[in-house]
Point group: C2
Chain length 525, copies 2
């Protein structure tokens, strides 16, 4: 058995576990070292694994069981770490922020509760994955698309709550969420928005409801356990075109962003277009060792050679346009004209219909088909591949993108890593995602990867940038960067935390929010 | 002087006012009966006016003055009713829910703090109106549009916080808000989202930031005083077409909605299209007395005659498509084909460019130009025109729209009123807005209008519908309709209220949320 939370004796913890087992049955408890391996962050740098060790996991099958678990947790002041399915890889997986927490694993609650083809929405439980919902839609012949996260095995609820994103016009998962059911620490069940109208049909149709709206407050937070979530689905388009713009020079990032922004703001391009660096693009087609086996990052000259040999861009813009063929053509002509004007640009584009879908991994994501191609990246470095992501928000300008890229690339090189990254286009911002890929069997590399993250975040902060999401190990650090008025935002969060979860049982430390009873753990990893 | 709040003696109240005056200066206090007329709901049915009477108003010019006002309010437990400019007409205007409250009128804080043409956003203070921002953009030659509320004199901050909506693709004002500054009851200043990064530039670019996001929680609530608000602006389109589809029969509402939904979901039509009943459309062109002067509602046969003489539709669909001419044409062809297939449909459409703008009122709103044409409605009934709005959310189906329309029309007729209404298209819902227009000089009509609102809301609730917004007089009633799990949502709101405003000084009763100290006032009007 792993170590209990610090506020409980072994005996009292054992008693709490017995009570939990009496609720869910012994088979739905995980307490063995072997079983708990699943609740370790698979990518965690080894020295940190102990800091984020679950003491047990409990898997309820229903709201009633969840309510009973909360009752026990309150009675024992037992910290719980709710996960939907625990696939939050690169940010901690299923592991808790506070060591000794019991993972509240909701994966057995996995019903697709409603799908409405006419109004294009679904209502799901936490255990439903992108693969599950995709299969359901296909099986029932529904003309609806999902917007998959880059790894299709993830939970829809989990990804949405962490503000994950995809590749279609529905790529902003949080923005396309509509209606939640949340169990508060007290066991009280709340439905947000129009869900307050019990017999109504508006829950998945209009997010705010009447009065204050709370859905966004339950994202990336520890204020409740989300037990149901509504999401909007995209009507299946009659046709679409997926384009790949290859730009030859490192400095072309700036022009790529400046070209994309007006197209995005003017609604010519409505999907979450991606501007991908050469190495990230190449990782789908080759391994690092094919090109370079020296120490430190792959030199620029080698990257240039790789770009030329693989016939890819130094920067690769992927965008897609969906809809009726005439509209798609008119919009594509405008986008094509804009990118073709960039010196050295080459553009591949393919047209698709529901009967002729793309076969390649990343194109499939843009066609609403879940895949696991994101995991190719693990093979890039060799050994036991792992990665941790640095994810700053970048204003949607070429100058900002170049600045974030240049600073990150230089720091990564200093620590011996390649720039493996890209930018995904929101409306007025870019999600800049920089993966530090390391071999977990290499202790030095692993330690360097861990140290690097704070340095990258500090660099960004000094230029006025903040991250939208981060690993367990840097949650306090990230929260501390949002320091306007001496951290007033975090103080407000902790005031609300105290009101909604006075016993401090739900996810202590999530996003830097600590309940009063655990506040001395802040920053302590 | 009007009556003070019930928890303060005349003497203590006078002392509080003196302290407020020492902060803002006597000229920025309103205490005379004459001056306070501005803080009465101009449309309130007279018997209710006493129930919503402000005792005074205080007008700060800065954050510091606002903080000092909150300090005094906490010391005296003085209830404040914050308004941006107080133009929330049909829902209460500037009047407070709790009689005796002091209106905290923010109209002197009226700076346009930032406008960014490249990234298409603005940051404004509460006193900035749609007219103000429009004039600023024109004056500086910026190629950006605003999305005006139907009355251009309203505050951008106020309208957005009440979840008002307009007519362009940016018509969902709450959804196009990005970043807030909020002063809590304690005087603590919080910036939401990326506003936590003090020196950053992401505040108006990415709403959520890191951790829980609160912007939507500060809408229609009483958790803080919003002192700055970011909003996204629409890049000025090169061209646009505004279309008016006239449908001849009362039952055509169903087909109008069924035709519009796939066009909206498929992104052929991206603006907040409107389906307007004959009388609302006719009110811009004539008065009720031109057609009918009998008792009770205008008979259907007269409405038909009016439709024919004015050459309008029994239902009138107004939509607009914006962008590059080739894309606009391709999208318009699809929309035109769909509506032209409806029996008896006639379609007027006009093309516009930045150099040739529409001249008519409602078309100007669809072209991003603020107007006051919404007030035409007051002339419909004659006398001292006033209206109160019933605003249920309607699922975006023809069947739901017909049901809401039929039930409301019958009830309105029973109480002697015309159906003066229409539906504005969100993505998966319609805002159904039903104005009860009455003559305030007619006591019986006024009383009937007031009684009717609860009946309309009860009818809707029994069919599973709820309102998104309501008048002061029905806020408790509306909140009580969101009764899932015995009102768990409202209980959560009041828990948060208690944590953020323990003295209960901010807007007691707003949206049915009462602080502990005033909870016995619930339902008491």
């Amino acid at each position: 058995m792993n170590a209990p939370p610090q506020n409980l004796s072994e005996a009292r913890f054992a008693q709490a576990l017995r009570e939990l087992a009496s609720i869910v049955g012994q088979t739905n408890m995980v307490t063995s070292a072997d079983g708990l391996r699943e609740y370790f962050d698979p990518f965690v740098p080894q020295p940190m694994a102990r800091a984020f060790a679950a003491s047990a996991a409990v898997l309820p099958a229903s709201l009633n069981e969840t309510r009973e678990i909360l009752r026990v947790a309150r009675a024992y002041r037992l910290p719980l770490w709710p996960v939907s399915t625990g696939r939050n890889f690169a940010y901690g997986g299923a592991a808790p922020r506070l060591t000794g927490s019991v993972v509240l694993d909701l994966k057995r609650m996995n019903k697709i509760l409603a799908v409405d083809e006419k109004l294009a929405y679904a209502l799901v439980e936490p255990g439903v994955t992108y693969f599950d919902l995709y299969a359901y839609l296909r099986e029932h012949g529904l003309k609806l698309w999902i917007d998959p996260a880059s790894a299709g095995w993830g939970s829809i609820v989990g990804n949405t709550l962490e503000r994950g994103f995809g590749y279609t016009p529905y790529g902003d998962h949080a923005a396309h969420q509509c209606g939640m059911e949340v169990m508060l620490a007290s066991g009280e069940l709340v439905r947000t928005g129009m869900g307050g109208i019990e017999i109504g049909r508006g829950w998945q149709l209009f997010k705010p409801g009447f009065g204050p709206s709370y859905d966004a407050m339950f994202m990336q937070s520890n204020f409740g356990v989300v037990t149901k979530l509504g999401l909007w689905l995209m009507p299946r388009p009659d046709s679409y075109v997926i384009a790949h713009v290859k730009l030859p020079r490192e400095g072309d990032l700036e022009a790529a962003v400046e070209t994309l922004r007006p197209l995005r703001l003017g609604e010519t391009i409505r999907n979450h277009a991606v501007i991908e660096g050469a190495i990230r693009h190449a990782a789908g087609m080759s391994s690092r060792s094919d090109w370079y086996d020296g120490a430190g990052p792959v030199p620029d000259a080698v990257v240039d050679k790789m770009v030329s040999r693989l016939d890819i861009g130094r920067w690769n813009v992927h965008f897609a346009i969906y809809g009726e063929p005439t509209v798609v053509q008119a919009r594509f002509d405008i986008a094509h004209r804009a990118f073709a004007a960039l010196p050295g640009a080459r553009i591949d584009a393919h047209r698709y219909t529901p009967d002729a879908e793309p076969v390649g991994g990343s194109e499939r994501n843009m066609a609403g088909i879940p895949a696991m191609s994101a995991f190719r990246m693990l093979d890039w470095r060799g050994g036991t591949g792992a990665h941790v992501d640095f994810s700053p928000i970048c204003p949607f300008t070429g100058g900002d993108a170049m600045r974030q890229y240049s600073v990150a690339k230089a720091r990564l090189a200093e620590y011996g890593f390649d720039y493996y990254g890209g930018f995904t286009a929101g409306e007025r911002h870019l999600h800049h995602i920089v993966a530090t890929i390391f071999n977990r069997d290499d202790a030095k590399q692993t330690e360097a990867a861990a140290d690097l993250q704070r340095v990258l975040m500090s660099d960004a902060r000094s230029e006025g940038y903040g991250v939208y999401r981060t690993h367990l190990a840097t949650m306090d650090f990230a929260a501390s960067q949002y320091d306007f008025n001496d951290g007033a935002l975090l103080r407000m969060s902790e005031t609300i935390k105290g009101a909604l979860d006075p016993d401090g049982i739900l996810a202590p430390g999530k996003s830097g929010i600590w309940p009063h009873v655990w506040r001395d753990k802040r920053g302590d990893i």
